[in-house]
């Protein structure tokens, strides 16, 4: 086994960790617009530019819509592009998110997850990125600032992989991660550079039978973002789905390769199973809540409860097999949603997890907990109550309330 790279411990907030990772990733173009709680990322990056620490072209655009349009166009012009946003900013990008994935532009974006208006709220939940789950972007959710840092570096490798060639968003919970200082192990610049490598371009075949790089190159003119009608559009979309499938393997591969350099891995890159081997009751969640949840699981374990946790690190593509296999022996599952799907009979993670469990032989009980909207604090006691409910379900063999709201007034 190769020895680990030298690392440096730095106190960084999640946002600072993201900015630092982007800096080390040698990004060519950053086009971004400030929005709480993402602001520190763009501020920090602006400092790098102002101090001449990066060669990046920083485009301080006039809206998030333009941020995504400029990131996409810079990317297809041959640059490594990075941006960051949150909440309303991500919602404003909505149109361009689909265009970016449709153009197969490997843009990387940090999303400091925040609630959507109205009422306006600057604090953390997953409404923003969940609303973009069908936009054709790979979605990773970080548990802590360390993972936010590591995931940004990994994201370039995933996005730019020729079998993937899709944009990647890395979610970090607003304030809980974005603004909270943590000790973060950082790699040396050279090691990050070596890990990511220079940007490679897929080769495509032209009308004339020439093989050319997939980018806007005056030597090899290419028409990108054309009009495709009933006769071709469908195939474009099917190819994106294929790329998503390929991303499953690439995310795992990048996760394990990164572990060889850094010593850190996040489960298999797709999901992280925590004390699940013999668990009877388990929760599934994304993001920073997993940290608290692990403490709750430890407490329950000490009391002899066979409790476990499955953290979805990757939500797009949905790691169907990884989730099924992790939950194979679990009898009751609580799916945590930090987001509403209004009128949708539960939250989005619940929908998807329950759907993938429909085909397994031993179907567990599956309930949904909607929690933490608009930054509402979720205490260990509340999280513990989820497991207590799961145990009650196992005892009675009945689910009284399939969808519950955790920590909701009245």
């Amino acid at each position: 086994m190769q020895s680990l790279a030298k690392q440096k411990m730095v106190a960084l907030s999640g946002d600072e960790a993201v900015a630092y990772a982007a800096k080390q990733s040698d990004v060519d173009v950053v086009a971004a617009y400030p929005i709480t709680p993402q602001t520190i990322i763009v501020e920090k990056f602006s400092e790098y530019v102002a101090d001449g620490e990066v060669e990046t072209e920083f485009v301080c655009v006039e809206s998030e819509h333009s941020a995504m349009a400029a990131s996409l166009s810079a990317s297809v012009a041959g640059a490594r592009a990075f941006t960051a946003t949150a909440s309303a900013g991500l919602a404003l990008m909505h149109e361009m998110l689909f265009v970016t994935s449709g153009c197969r532009a490997p843009v990387v974006m940090a999303v400091a997850n925040r609630a959507l208006s109205a009422p306006i709220n600057i604090h953390g939940d997953h409404s923003d990125s969940m609303a973009q789950r069908d936009s054709g972007w790979v979605q990773l959710y970080a548990e802590n600032a360390q993972e936010a840092y590591d995931s940004i570096i990994q994201a370039f490798r995933i996005a730019e992989n020729a079998d993937v060639l899709l944009p990647v968003m890395v979610g970090l919970d607003g304030f809980t991660l974005s603004h909270t200082l943590e000790n973060v192990e950082t790699l040396m610049d050279a090691d990050v550079k070596e890990f990511i490598g220079t940007r490679q371009f897929s080769k495509v075949l032209t009308h004339e039978g020439k093989t050319v790089p997939f980018r806007l190159d005056p030597d090899n003119p290419m028409t990108l973002g054309p009009l495709a009608l009933q006769n071709y559009y469908f195939e474009f979309k099917r190819q994106q789905e294929e790329a998503m499938k390929n991303a499953l393997g690439v995310i795992q591969q990048v996760n394990s390769e990164y572990a060889k350099v850094s010593g850190r891995n996040y489960g298999d890159g797709l999901v992280e199973a925590y004390r699940l081997e013999d668990a009877e009751v388990a929760a599934i969640c994304l993001g920073s809540t997993a940290g608290t949840m692990k403490t709750v699981v430890d407490g329950l374990r000490q009391e002899g409860v066979k409790a476990g946790l499955l953290r979805l690190r990757t939500f797009r593509p949905l790691p169907v097999e990884a989730i099924r296999s992790a939950l194979a022996n679990v009898k009751a599952v609580a799916v945590m949603d930090r987001c509403m799907s209004f009128g949708g009979n539960g939250g989005p993670v619940f929908h998807e997890v329950r759907h993938l469990l429909y085909d397994v032989d031993k179907r567990p009980f599956v309930v949904n907990y909607i929690y933490g909207l608009g930054g509402r604090d979720t205490s260990p006691t509340e999280l513990r109550s989820i497991y207590e409910n799961l145990q009650a379900i196992l005892q009675t063999g009945r689910v009284e309330m399939p969808i519950q709201y955790l920590g909701l007034r009245g």
Partner: protein, 325 residues
Amino acid sequence: MTGQEWKFTTKDIAEKPELFRSGHRACAGCGPATVLRLIMKATRGPTIVTEATGCMEVVSSIYPYTSWGVPWLHTAFETAASNASGIEAALKVMKRKGRLKQEHVDVIAFAGDGGTYDIGIQALSGAVERGHDFLFVLYDNEAYMNTGIQRSGGTPHGAATTTSPAGKAVPGKLEYKKPIADIMVAHDMPYVATASPYYWKDMLTKVRKGLEVEGPAFLHVFAPCPRGWRSNPAKSIEYSKLAVETCVFPVWESVDGQCGLSTPSKLVALAPQKKKPVSDYLRGQGRFRHMFKPENKMLLEEVQRITDERWERVLKKCGETSKAA
């Protein structure tokens, strides 16, 4: 500014390779298609084109065919300028890092009136404020023609469109055409010009100037649409001449904020008696047909009044003494 050095003779133009090629699906007599074909003849080297959603994007890029002989990107309706920003930033940084094969690559953004006056103006304003080095070409056919002739901020007063129909109570569009080129001049940008394809040498010279200038350039091109204007396809170029002769669309340029009339409009300024009445231009266009009904006489007079007023403003900003009667 060395614009005067280019000749752009008919021979030169004929010999230059076609970068906007035949086979596109534009209508017969399409003004914008002629404009784009000519403009691409005025490019000076490696060029990347980005285009807003609109007629020209749709007709030129129907997969798996393309009319484009240069790298071309379309992303959305409102993004011509933000795409140009991203492309220009990428070119700049790749050059700095030694990854650009070419010595220089020009960036041209094309958008129609919808993608410029309306949905694209925020991105355009932002890109110009940031000073990206690119040429933005507005091909103005004065309505959303691609979606079926709906009014835009560039539709002139009185024109009938499908969202400003000439009805019994409302006689076409009540609002006035937004002075988009003046708005761009107010950005204190290095180069702004208006052009008409009838005066193609003037137009091509302006394209070249726009490309050569350091920083953003804006070119507003008059582009008749027979389908949307309900006009004879054979007369598109004639209308682009009449628009200048009637002062409905004066041609001028602003170099570093200094405005000057271009020759075709200068000739009108020098001989105001030759300035044609707007009815010469309006007549024959179905979108203005209702204005020639006796009960709408006021409307015709109003268009003449606005045209005169705006012409006076152009003369004033171009430092010409008004000789209007």
